[in-house]
């Protein structure tokens, strides 16, 4: 009963809009009351591919998003673990401080960071864009990883260490596999946020770093639903793709038997 409810809700709220979006990207505009006609058009997709930089932009967006994600996971896990498992003076204050970047308007942050990036020589370069994308993402990742470590608790980690596993092996074989759900949420969120940064990318990348949103966002001010649907589909697929990549990396990294296989008889 519950299961069928879940599936019908999933179809209604997820599958149906997705299919509708797909249909919209290959059909001309349809007006209320008009009979349903199926005039297929590839105009949405040809517009999408029109800009010859789109492929490069896709790869660059993905590269930036994945780099941002990896830095996020590294920092988020260390900070999340520290916030969750150790107690020190001013911990709750630090936790609040770490959330603050989320409340700074993007434009204000962008201007301040732009000057710094120019001085560091990172403006107009994709690495600079990576660094500014950390601003709106790191707070979320720390929050997610802290919740993950809260849920995991320190007992299993202690137990692993009591069984002669060092910190690295404990991380790889216990923490990482058990935190995978949190890692997944963080990756999805970070990739989506990174891939939707227009202002930060525009200012810091200064037009030298052409990512998907730089090409895509101006089209949001258009009434051409067919083109927008095509862009939206790509925009929605990219995070899924990125999550798959991260999943593959972590699979490779975790593989619980790899340790055993080394030097097996």
């Amino acid at each position: 009963m519950k299961r069928s409810l879940f599936y019908s809700l999933a179809i209604l709220f997820f599958l149906f809009p997705a299919i509708l979006l797909g249909l919209k990207s290959v059909t001309p505009i349809w007006r209320w009351g008009e009979p349903l006609s199926f005039n297929w058009t590839l105009r949405g997709w040809t517009s999408f591919w029109m800009d010859d930089r789109i492929l490069h932009a896709l790869w660059l967006s993905l590269l930036i998003a994945l780099t941002v994600t990896l830095i996020n996971l590294a920092v988020g896990m260390m900070a999340g673990k520290a916030l969750s498992h150790s107690s020190f003076k001013g911990k709750s204050m630090l936790e609040t401080l770490l959330l603050l970047p989320l409340f700074v308007p993007a434009m204000a942050a962008a201007i301040g960071l732009h000057i710094t990036m120019i001085r560091l020589g990172l403006a107009n370069h994709w690495t600079g864009v990576v660094i500014v994308h950390l601003v709106p993402t790191i707070p979320y990742t720390i929050k997610i990883m802290k919740a993950g470590y809260d849920r995991l608790g320190s007992d299993l980690i202690d137990q692993s260490r009591m069984l002669k596993a060092g910190p690295f092996r404990t991380f790889r074989e216990i923490e990482l596999p058990l935190l995978l759900p949190s890692v997944r949420s963080a990756v999805f969120l970070v990739v989506t946020i990174s891939m939707s940064q227009y202002v930060l990318t525009a200012i810091i990348g200064g037009g030298s770093v052409i990512t998907l949103p730089i090409i895509y966002y101006p089209f949001l001010q258009s009434v051409d639903d067919t083109v927008m649907a095509a862009f939206s589909i790509v925009f929605a697929i990219l995070p899924v793709f990125a999550v798959l990549i991260i999943e593959l990396i972590s699979r490779f990294f975790i593989t619980k038997n790899s340790f055993f296989n080394r030097g097996a008889v």
């Binding site: 007992d155 692993s160 260490r161 069984l163 002669k164 596993a165 058990l178 055993f260 296989n261 008889v265």
Partner: protein, 331 residues
């Protein structure tokens, strides 16, 4: 006296200005099990965590086979530990859990063989490929113990390993654990707040209260000869009369009125609570008016007419009053 297999010398732990325990001295011979018993919140778990290396002593030393090891990293200490919760890794099967600690020292194949052999020998091999969540609490704790034993630590720490189980399982598991530890000739420190449990498992018993080891010795001896009021309260069945004297509960009697108390006795005002029956004996539960402490005394008389809450006395003959033997802290 030959050198002890395992010893603690002047171990202490403080958090800021708060002292958890101090000047802890303990020693164990090889193959011996020591029960550390004491009320909750006296730092028993912290003591074990410090020995394990999960926390560090503020001062003092831990030695094993003449080697001081308190400076080692957790994974380099020759110590294993079983926690209150089974703490099986939920994403690994029973077998993978059991051989987790063997990975460093042997190949996967021989570790697997070793794990299977061990599980067979204790009759748990039917769960080999199950995941922990499909096992009962008792089974999980058994696996946890095997997981700790299979790496053959030189010292095993058991931190109230039965506290998460229901009484029946607990009793069953205690016997099994004791048998297994003895079979393996394991040297172990067993922490509990349950006196009966400490007697069942420990060759020796140590009473940890007020941040100190109050008394160490053979369970029966400690039971009958507490060295101070803490030992008396937490281990012996004794009523502390003052700092120097006490009376064993089985020498104490109840009287409803002052007139019925014989001569040459010490009496205390008490409030009647109820009467219970166990193992063919009857016991009176009373509360001392002065200290508000409850005590249970064997009482053959029938007092069903006494109303709960009514006042009376407990008394003990002068010749049964005992002196705390403060000299004899350790046997």
């Amino acid at each position: 006296m030959k050198e002890a297999y395992f010893s603690l010398e002047g171990a202490a732990k403080t958090y800021g200005s708060k002292t958890i325990f101090q000047s802890i001295n303990l020693s164990l011979n090889e193959g011996e099990i020591l029960s550390i018993v004491g009320p909750s919140g006296t730092g028993k778990s912290t003591l074990l965590r410090c020995i394990a290396g999960l926390e560090s002593f503020s001062s003092g030393h831990a030695n094993l086979q003449g080697k001081q090891f308190d400076g080692y990293k957790v994974q380099d200490r020759p110590v294993g530990m079983v926690f209150q919760q089974p703490l099986l890794f939920p994403h690994l099967t029973v077998l993978e859990n059991v051989i987790y600690g063997l990975k460093l020292t042997m190949s996967h194949r021989s570790a697997k063989a070793e794990g299977i052999t061990y599980l067979k020998s204790v009759g748990l091999d039917e769960y080999l490929n199950e995941y922990p969540h499909s096992l009962s609490g008792g089974q999980q704790q058994r696996i946890a113990l095997i997981r700790a034993l299979i790496v053959k630590p030189k010292l095993l720490l058991l931190d109230e390993p039965f506290s998460s189980l229901d009484p029946d399982r607990r009793r069953e598991l205690r016997d099994w654990v004791r048998m297994l530890l003895k079979e393996e000739r394991m040297t172990a420190l067993f922490v509990t707040h349950d006196r009966e449990e400490s007697m069942l498992l420990g060759d020796k018993v140590a009473i940890l209260a007020e941040g100190k080891i109050q008394q160490t010795g053979d369970p029966k001896h400690v039971y009958e000869n507490p060295v101070n009021e803490y030992a008396a309260r937490h281990y012996a069945d004794a009523i502390v009369l003052n700092e120097t004297i006490y009376a064993l509960n089985h020498d104490v009697k109840w009287s409803t009125s002052h007139e019925t108390i014989p001569e040459d006795t010490i009496s205390l005002k008490a409030e009647w609570i109820n009467q219970t029956y166990q193992y063919g004996e009857s016991y009176a539960h009373v509360k001392l008016v002065e200290t508000n402490r409850r005590c249970i005394i064997p009482e053959k008389g029938h007092f069903s007419y006494v109303k709960p809450g009514s006042r009376g006395f407990i008394w003990v003959k002068q010749r049964d009053v005992r002196l705390f033997d403060k000299e004899q802290v350790n046997e």
